[in-house]
């Protein structure tokens, strides 16, 4: 297997997208191809990550749609990838493997999701379909309810307070203000979302103990990346970024069946596997993009991925370690909380963000001297997780 690199990335502004799902895919693909000096070339293989187009956009097999719009048909293969919210990083993993194996010499990966096409309860329901049908979904279990039941246990065991969850929301929304791609462009304060009497109105419980501002928004969004062999990378881009390590871990879908409901086993395994492949250590990382679909997950993943000891993630947050300018910034992009979480797009967007950061192109949110970054793309309620390490070669 030969090493591979990302030589082009593209994103659209997350939020409410005016055009169609196809328009959104074409926009980011065109940007990534241009970034890789491939505007007039075809990729050997195309992967498109998406979770809900069949349910909410009445469109399936969207990789075939994308290559049609791009005029990239013939020898180019096209594959749609659906693996819940981990679809994005999984598509990158498959593309990286295809290029690493020598089966393809260039791959285009797009993650796209147009969620605002449907009303809120329908979106909640389609996301909930990834829970176990006869043990969870049938009872009304949703992802926010899983996160809430997890948060109640985590908070009780480790003395995490509502203010810690609010601190994640405030940090990530502040970071989002520095990210032109982020959906949520709103400054919030501890007073406004937690301590003043009107905070109860501004920030009501959605799934107690989680409140509105503990949840990521419902967003449209897309991101793309071009992957080639590392040895050829400089032909495409002056500042390639190496895919140094990828790891995947899985766990039981039925959350109540897990021995320890607080052990995010798949995060731990995916992270260990990524570090093993990269031959790097946690202390080598300059920044993290974690899957904060709910504020509690940023804290819990920072521990499960091995960056902080169990029960200390909220303390690192409190000490400012995870802020831009801190020792280990988490979600400088604003994370899912502010950038948004168009489910199939998220994993690709996280890696596009790390690429911007490692190339020194992240503007006001740039982490100084960023050379190595790590991402967690969390599928299901932690039952299918992909970890990725990107580095400057």
């Amino acid at each position: 297997m030969r090493p591979v690199a990302i030589v082009g990335v593209g994103m659209c502004k997350f939020g409410k997208y005016k055009g169609s799902l196809d328009d959104m895919m074409v926009e980011v693909a065109t940007k990534a191809l241009a970034d890789a000096k491939m505007s007039e070339k075809d990729a050997d293989t195309v992967y498109v990550a998406n979770m809900g187009a069949g349910a909410i956009n009445r469109q399936t097999a969207i990789a075939s749609a994308l290559i049609d719009r791009l005029g990239m048909v013939g020898n180019t293969s096209a594959v749609s990838v659906e693996n819940g919210p981990a679809s994005g990083a999984n598509a990158v993993k498959l593309a990286a493997m295809e290029v690493a194996s020598g089966f393809a010499n260039s791959a285009l990966v797009v993650g796209a999701e147009k969620m605002r096409a449907a009303e809120g309860s329908i979106v909640t329901d389609f996301v909930a379909m990834m829970t176990r049908p006869d043990a969870e979904y049938i009872h009304g279990v949703t992802l926010p309810s899983h996160a809430a039941m997890f948060a109640r246990l985590h908070m009780a065991k480790y003395n995490v307070e509502p203010r810690h969850l609010a601190m994640v929301a405030i940090k990530n929304q502040n970071n989002g203000l520095l990210n032109p791609y982020a959906h949520i462009q709103q400054k919030i304060t501890m007073e406004g979302i937690l301590t003043l009497p009107e905070a109860k109105m501004n920030n009501p419980y959605v799934a107690e103990p989680l409140r509105l501002y503990d949840m990521c928004p419902v967003s449209d969004g897309a991101a793309a990346a071009v992957i080639v062999p590392l040895e050829d990378a400089k032909k495409y881009n002056d500042t390639p970024v190496k895919i140094a390590g990828m790891g995947q871990g899985t766990d039981l879908q039925t959350v109540h069946q897990r021995k320890d409901p607080l052990d995010l086993k798949a995060v731990r395994i995916a992270s260990d596997n990524a570090f093993k492949m990269a031959k790097l250590e946690r202390k080598d990382m300059d920044l993290l993009e974690l899957h904060d679909a709910f504020t509690i997950l940023e804290i819990a993943e920072s521990e499960a991925a091995g960056f902080f000891k169990p029960g200390t993630g909220h303390k690192a947050l409190e000490e400012g370690i995870t802020e831009i300018g801190g020792k280990l910034p988490i979600n400088a992009s604003g994370g899912l909380k502010a950038r948004g979480h168009p489910v199939g797009a998220t994993g690709v967007a996280q890696l596009a963000e790390l690429t911007f950061q490692l190339r020194g192109e992240a503007g006001k949110r740039q982490i100084a001297k960023a050379e190595k970054g790590f991402a967690i793309n969390f599928g299901g309620f932690g039952n299918n997780v992909v970890a990725t390490i990107l580095t400057r070669p």
């Binding site: 049938i138 949703t142 419980y205």
Partner: protein
């Protein structure tokens, strides 16, 4: 239908009880399971009051929880009854058969848990 119905789990040879059924045990990989009653009472391990309710419910708020039976088996479900709004970790619950929600235009039935204290 419901009066004589009991919740049933599936005990693997290694001792783990699954609810509902799985094809193979994640621990020992065994595929032979014995049906076992889960019991008439369980305790709440964790819960949430969910106000963002998915489609198929007539209510604006439901309470969901994970409960554990004396034999160690666990289940997820709706916590119901007058005491559901005051539920806490450790509350006792009793399985109760009834309508869960509507999916695709059809009523779905299953086990809910009545909060006893």
């Amino acid at each position: 239908m419901a009066a004589d119905k009991k919740m049933t789990g599936y005990r693997c040879k290694c001792g783990i009880i699954y609810y509902p059924h799985v094809a193979r045990c994640a621990e020992c990989k065994g595929s032979v399971f014995e049906q076992v009653p889960l019991g008439d009472e369980a305790k709440v391990l964790t819960f949430t009051h969910l106000s963002s309710v998915p489609t198929g419910f007539d209510y604006y708020l439901i309470t969901l929880g994970v409960v554990e039976f004396p034999n160690g088996a666990r289940a997820t479900g709706q916590l119901i009854g007058e005491k559901a709004s005051k539920v806490r970790i450790g509350s006792r619950v009793r399985p109760s058969w009834g309508k869960l929600r509507e999916i695709g235009g059809f009523d779905q039935f299953g086990w809910r848990f009545e909060v006893l204290d």
